[in-house]
Symmetry: C2
Subunit: 159 residues, 2 copies
C-alpha cells in the first residue's frame, strides 16, 4: 500500500469507494464528491488536499481530504477520511491520518480538527480519533438532528 | 429601506459594501465575495440565500447570507451579515436578521447558528446576537489564532 496525491483518473475509483460505504447517506456521498471535483477541477486551489491510499494493483483503498480552516492562522480541518470496508481495521485509516498530520505540520498547523456525530454508530470513529490523540473540543447539541449532536475533536501541535 | 432578493447587477455594490468594512481582513472580503459569486452564478443552488437591504435610491446598505447546514435535518447557518458603516445602529442588521429567521422558519428550521470571535472588537456583534435571542452553544479554543476562540451562537425555534 502506498499513499499518493490525487490524480484526475481517480474520480471513478473514488466514487466507487464512496458508494461502497453502506452507512453513508446519499447527501454525504454527494458532498464528498463535490469536494473531490473541486480538487480535480482546480489544480491550483489551496483549500483542500486529497491523499489516496493505493493497493498493489493500483486500486483505491481509501482517501483523506483535509485543508486549512478559512480565517484561521493555522487551524486545519479533516473533511473526510474514508477506507473501503474490506480493508477496515488494517491500519489504513491510521496511515492516512498520519499523512494528513505530516502535511499540515509542514504548514506549521497548531490545531487539526475533525467533526463527528454523537450517535452510537459513530463510536468506532470516535475511538479511532481518541487513539490518535484527538479529544473533544466542543459539541453543538441537536446539530445534525434532535439528539444527534456534532462533536468537534481536535489535536494540537507545537511547531 | 426594503429587503429584497439578490440580483446579478448587485455584485459591484456588494463588493463596494465589503470594501467599506474597514475591520474586514482581505481574506474575509475574498471569502464573502466567493459566496456571492456562487449565488449569482448558480441561480438554482439551494445552499445559500442572500437578501439585500436597499436604500431609497437603490443603493445597497447591507446584506445577509444564510443557508442550510450540510448533513443536518434542519439546522441553518448565517454566513455573513454586513451593514454599511454609515448605517450602523439604525436597525438594519435587526431587519436583515429577522428576514433570515423568517426564511429559515419557512423551511421548518430548528436551529440557526452564527459564528464569531471571542476577541474584544467582536463584543458589539456578540451583544447584537444576544439581544436577538442567540446564545453561545459551543466554543473552540484558540481556533482563529492563539487566544482568539471561535464562539458558536445559536437560537432554537419550535415549529
Amino acid at each position: 500500500m502506498k499513499i499518493r496525491k490525487i490524480q484526475p483518473q481517480d474520480r471513478a475509483g473514488l466514487k466507487a469507494l464512496l458508494n461502497a460505504q453502506e452507512h453513508f447517506k446519499p447527501e454525504e456521498i454527494k458532498i464528498a464528491l463535490e469536494l473531490i471535483d473541486i480538487v480535480l477541477n482546480h489544480p491550483i486551489q489551496e483549500d483542500y488536499i486529497i491523499r489516496i491510499a493505493e493497493g498493489p494493483a493500483g486500486e483505491i483503498l481509501g482517501y483523506i481530504c483535509h485543508g486549512k480552516a478559512p480565517l484561521t492562522d493555522a487551524a486545519y480541518d479533516i473533511y473526510w477520511i474514508v477506507v473501503h470496508p474490506a480493508f477496515w481495521n488494517q491500519g489504513l485509516g491510521s496511515s492516512l491520518l498520519r499523512q494528513a498530520e505530516a502535511d499540515v505540520r509542514r504548514h506549521c498547523a497548531r490545531l487539526l480538527l475533525i467533526e463527528t456525530s454523537s450517535k452510537p454508530p459513530y463510536e468506532a470513529p470516535r475511538a479511532f480519533y481518541r487513539k490518535h490523540g484527538y479529544h473533544e473540543q466542543a459539541r453543538i447539541l441537536d446539530y445534525y438532528a434532535v439528539g444527534d449532536h456534532k462533536l468537534i475533536f481536535g489535536k494540537t501541535f507545537t511547531p
